[in-house]
Amino acid sequence: MSAFLRLEGLVKRFDAALAVDGISLALERGEMLALLGPSGSGKTTTLRLLAGFETPDEGRVLVEGEDVTRVEPVSRRFGMVFQHYALFPHLDVRANVGFGLESIGVRGAERDRRVDRSLALVDLPGFGGRRIAQLSGGQQQRVALARALAPEPRVLLLDEPLSNLDPTLRERTRRELRELIHRVGITTVLVTHEQDEAFELGDRVAVMREGRLEQVGTPDELYASPANAFVGGFVGQSSTAEVVVVGPTPRGTRISLDGIEWDLDAVPGHPVPPPGPALMLVRPEALRLTPHEPGAVSATVTERRFVGPSAIFTVRTDGGAVLDVVAPPQAAPAGARVGLMLSRRVGGGIHLFPPDGR
C-alpha cells in the first residue's frame, strides 16, 4: 500500500536538544491527521519539517513517492494556515487570496475567478475588497484558509487553527472546517494541543510526547485502548491510582485497591501486567458511588464539579488514592463518606499499565 504523504524516521535537533525523535507516519490521500500533544512535544516542529521551514537531520518526507525533504517551501506546494493567520495586512482580501495564484502564473480574469471560488468555498463571497483589519477573527481564519487552498496545494497544514478564536466560535468553526476539508478532499495535517479539536477534526490522531509518537489511531481506538498511561490521561477524562494485580480470572483480571478486590473484564488487544504493583487508569464513568457498604472501597468526597447534566466527584480513598467518578449532581455532598464500586453498565474504561505507566 503506497501512502500519499509519508514521513520516514524524521529527526530534528536544535543544538543538543532533540525536538523530533524519529517520527514515521503515513497518510492516505484525502486523510486528515491530527498531531496532538502538550507544548514542547515536537508537534509544531514536525509541521515545520513538513512545510520545509526546517530541514530534518535525519529521515525523509515523501509525497506520492517523490522525496521533498530538501525541496524549498516555495516549490513544495504545501498550503499552510498559520496560528496567527499571517495575513498580509497591507493587502486586501482579494490580493491575499490571489497571492499564491500569482506565484504559479495564474493572472487576470482566471485569477479573479479562482479567488472568487475560494472565497465562496469559505463562505465569504463578496469580501474581496475588505481590508484585513476590518475582518473578525473568524473571518480572518477563513481568509487564511481560502488563501492556503487557492493555489490547490498537494497537502494542507494547519497550525493550531482554532486557538485564536473565542470558545463559542471555536466549536462551530471546528465543524465547518471539518466539513470543508472533507469536501475539498485535501490531505491535511493539523497540529493542536486540544484533545476535542484533534478528535473532531482528525480521521486519525497521533499523540506526541517529547518528540516521539506515543500512539497513532482513530479517536475510538485511542479512547478504548490507550497504549500507555500518558495517552490515556491526555485523551478523555481519567484519573489514576496504584493497584495490585492479583492474577487472572476466567473473564479477565483480578486487582486489589485498598485491599478490596475487583474483577475486570479483559480488553481485547491490551496486555495485562504480571501480578504485582500496577498503575490503573480509570474513566469517571467506569466507577460508581454507593452508600458506605462492605465490598466497596471506602472514600471521602473532596470536590464536586458540574459537567452538563451530571457531576464529576473527586474522591479520596482511605488508602490515599484520588479518583474521579461521574454521578448525578445530588449523589453526595462534599465531605460525605461514600463507597466506590465498578460501574456495571460500562464495560471497560479501566486500563492497567506497569507501575511506570509505559
Partner: protein, 552 residues
C-alpha cells in the same frame, strides 16, 4: 531555516564593507597616534599627558556633558509628566511645540541663540536700552553659554523618552496601585518611576553622548573655554596631526566609559515600543486659577522655546549692514531669500547639502536594510556583529570620525584599503553615511523585528521567492520604519556641521559652512535665511516621516 550560502556570502561582504568604513579608520587613528615617520613612539602620548590644556579640555568635556544631562533632565522630565499625565488646556498643541528644538540643526540653533541672547542680540539690546547701559549687559560666552544651548536643545530627549514611556504605561497599573491603598506620591515613587528607568537611562545616555560630542556651541561660544572636540580641531589647525589623534583617542575612551557605565540602559525607541493595554486617562486640572496658571506657564514656555525660531525668521529679512545698535532691525527685505535662489554662488551650498544628504541617506538605508534583513530574517551567524558595527558610530563623537576618515582616506594605498577621498566630492557623503548608520539601522531593525516572521513563511508556502516576498510583503510593511530611518538620517546629514568643517572642499561646501562664512562677513541676514531654509526642510522631512510612519 538555516542561512543559505548566498545569505552568508552577502553577510561576509557587508561585514567587510562595515569593517572598512567603521572600524578601520578608527583603528588607523589609534595606531597613528602611537607612530611617527620613524616608527613606534610614545612621544605624542607623553606630550598629551604633560600639557595641562589637554587635561582642562578633557575635564571640560566631562563636566559639561554631566551638567547637560542634569539640566536637560530637570527641564524635560517635569514637562513630560505635565503633558502626559495632566489635562492641560491646549495640551495637544503645546505638547507638540515643546519638541520644536528638534528641528533646529545644531549650528542653526547656536546662530539663533547668538542673534537672540548674544551681546548684540535682541534681548541684550533691549536690556541695554531699558536700563540705559553703555555696555552690553552680558557676554554670551564660555561654559554658561554652552550649557544654555545644550539645555535648550537636549531636554527634548528626556521629554520625548519619558513621555513615550508614560503613555505606554497601562492604566490598570495606576488603578492597581490605588486599589492597594497607595497614594499619588507612593504610586509615583514605587510604581511609575521604576517603569521609567529604561527611558531615563536611555535619555541620559543619549544626552551625555550628544553633549560630549557637541561641537557647534563650544566652537561659537567657547571663547577661551575648550572642550575636547574644539581642542582637537584647534590642534589640527596648528598642524599637530598626531597629537590630535591622541586627543581623539582620549575622547573616544571617555565615550566608551560612559557607554559602559550606562550599559544597562538600552537606548529606548522614541516610538514607545509595543503599547500594552490602554493608556491612562489624563488627570483633569479642576481648579480654575491653577488651570489658568498652567496654561499661562505653558504658553509662556512655548513662546520661549519658539523665540529662537522666530528670531531666525526675523533676522533672515535683514539686509546686509542695516542693523547695528537698534533693538529691532529697521529695514526688512526678501532679498536674502532671492539671492539664495538666484545667485549661483549662494545657491550652491543649498544644492550641495541636498544632494550630499540624499546620497548619504539612500546609502545608509540600503546598508541598514541589508544588515537588518540578514540579521533578523536570514539568521546569518554574524548577525549580532553586523548589528554591533552598524551602531558603533553612535559611540564615536563626530569629530573623532571626521579625523578618522580624514586619516584613512588621505593616502593612496589601495592594497591597504586606502584611497584618496579627502578633497574629493565623495568624502562628505561617506562621512554622513557612516554617521547615519546607527539611527537608520535602529529604526529599520525595530521595524523588521515588529514584523511577524510567519508573514515571510506564509509568502513562501504560497510560492513566492525571496525577491517577490521582499518586494510585495517585507518592503511595503517596512515602509514606516524606512521612512522614519531615512528622514532622521536626511535631517542629520542636512544640518551636519562637525564633520563637514573638517572634510569639506570649496565645491562641496554645505549649508552649515556657508552660514559660518556669512556670519564671519557679518552678513547675518543671509546666515539666518540659510538657517530658516534648513529649519523648514528639517521640519518638512520630519513631518513626512512621522505622517507616513503613523498611517502606514
Amino acid at each position: 531555516m538555516r542561512a543559505t550560502p548566498r545569505a552568508r556570502l552577502l553577510a561576509a561582504l557587508l561585514l567587510a564593507v562595515l569593517a572598512w568604513l567603521v572600524v578601520y579608520p578608527i583603528a588607523l587613528v589609534l595606531l597613528e597616534g602611537l607612530r611617527d615617520p620613524s616608527g613606534w613612539t610614545l612621544r605624542y602620548l607623553r606630550l598629551f599627558l604633560e600639557r595641562p590644556t589637554e587635561w582642562r579640555a578633557l575635564w571640560g568635556s566631562l563636566w559639561i556633558a554631566v551638567a547637560s544631562v542634569v539640566l536637560a533632565a530637570l527641564i524635560g522630565i517635569p514637562l513630560a509628566f505635565l503633558f502626559a499625565r495632566y489635562d492641560v488646556p491646549g495640551g495637544r498643541v503645546l505638547g507638540g511645540l515643546v519638541a520644536l528644538p528638534a528641528v533646529l540643526p545644531p549650528l542653526v540653533g547656536v546662530v539663533a541663540f547668538l542673534f537672540l541672547y548674544g551681546e548684540t542680540g535682541f534681548v541684550a539690546l533691549l536690556v541695554q536700552r531699558l536700563f540705559g547701559l553703555t555696555e552690553p549687559p552680558w557676554r554670551l560666552q564660555g561654559a554658561g553659554a554652552i550649557l544654555l544651548v545644550h539645555a535648550y536643545s537636549m531636554y527634548v530627549y528626556f521629554y520625548l523618552f519619558v513621555r513615550a514611556a508614560l503613555l505606554s504605561l497601562d492604566a490598570s497599573l495606576y488603578e492597581a496601585a490605588a486599589s492597594l491603598g497607595a497614594g499619588r506620591w507612593r504610586t509615583l515613587r514605587r510604581v511609575v518611576l521604576p517603569q521609567l528607568y529604561p527611558a531615563l537611562g536611555g535619555a541620559a545616555l543619549l544626552t551625555f553622548m550628544t553633549a560630549l560630542a557637541s561641537f557647534s556651541a563650544p566652537y561659537i561660544f567657547g571663547g577661551g573655554f575648550r572642550v575636547m572636540p574644539t581642542q582637537i580641531v584647534a590642534t589640527r589647525l596648528n598642524g599637530d596631526d598626531r597629537l590630535a589623534m591622541v586627543e581623539t583617542i582620549s575622547l573616544t575612551l571617555l565615550a566608551l566609559a560612559a557607554l559602559w557605565l550606562f550599559r544597562g540602559a538600552a537606548p529606548a525607541d522614541l516610538a514607545g515600543g509595543g503599547r500594552k493595554g490602554t493608556a491612562p486617562e489624563r488627570i483633569p486640572v479642576r481648579s480654575r486659577p491653577l488651570r489658568l496658571a498652567i496654561a499661562g506657564l505653558g504658553w509662556g514656555l512655548a513662546g520661549l522655546l519658539l523665540l529662537p525660531h522666530l528670531t531666525l525668521l526675523l533676522v533672515s529679512f535683514v539686509p546686509l549692514g542695516t542693523w547695528t545698535t537698534e533693538p529691532l532691525p529697521p529695514v526688512y527685505t526678501l532679498r536674502n531669500y532671492v539671492t539664495l535662489i538666484q545667485d549661483p554662488v549662494r545657491a550652491r551650498p543649498l544644492l550641495n547639502s541636498l544632494w550630499l544628504a540624499a546620497v548619504a541617506t539612500v546609502a545608509a538605508v540600503a546598508i541598514s536594510l541589508g544588515g537588518a534583513i540578514l540579521s533578523a530574517r536570514r539568521r546569518v551567524r554574524s548577525g549580532r556583529l553586523i548589528e554591533a558595527l552598524l551602531s558603533l558610530p553612535w559611540v564615536v563623537p563626530g569629530t573623532v570620525f571626521a579625523i578618522a576618515l580624514a586619516t584613512a582616506f588621505s593616502v593612496h594605498a589601495p592594497w591597504l584599503g586606502r584611497v584618496v577621498l579627502v578633497g574629493t566630492l565623495w568624502i562628505l557623503p561617506l562621512a554622513y553615511l557612516v554617521r547615519n548608520l546607527p539611527i537608520t539601522s535602529r529604526a529599520i531593525l525595530a521595524g523588521i523585528r515588529g514584523l511577524d516572521p510567519s508573514l515571510d513563511e506564509a509568502a513562501a508556502t504560497l510560492g513566492a521567492g525571496r525577491g517577490r516576498t521582499l518586494r510585495r510583503i517585507t518592503l511595503p510593511l517596512l515602509r514606516p520604519a524606512l521612512l522614519a530611518g531615512a528622514s532622521l538620517a536626511f535631517v542629520t546629514a542636512l544640518g551636519d556641521f562637525v564633520t563637514s568643517i573638517m572634510l569639506y572642499t570649496y565645491d562641496t561646501r554645505p549649508i552649515s559652512l556657508e552660514i559660518l562664512s556669512s556670519l564671519r562677513q557679518s552678513d547675518v541676514g543671509v546666515a539666518a535665511a540659510y538657517g530658516v531654509v534648513l529649519m523648514v526642510l528639517s521640519a518638512a522631512v520630519f513631518a513626512v516621516g512621522a505622517d507616513r510612519g503613523g498611517s502606514g
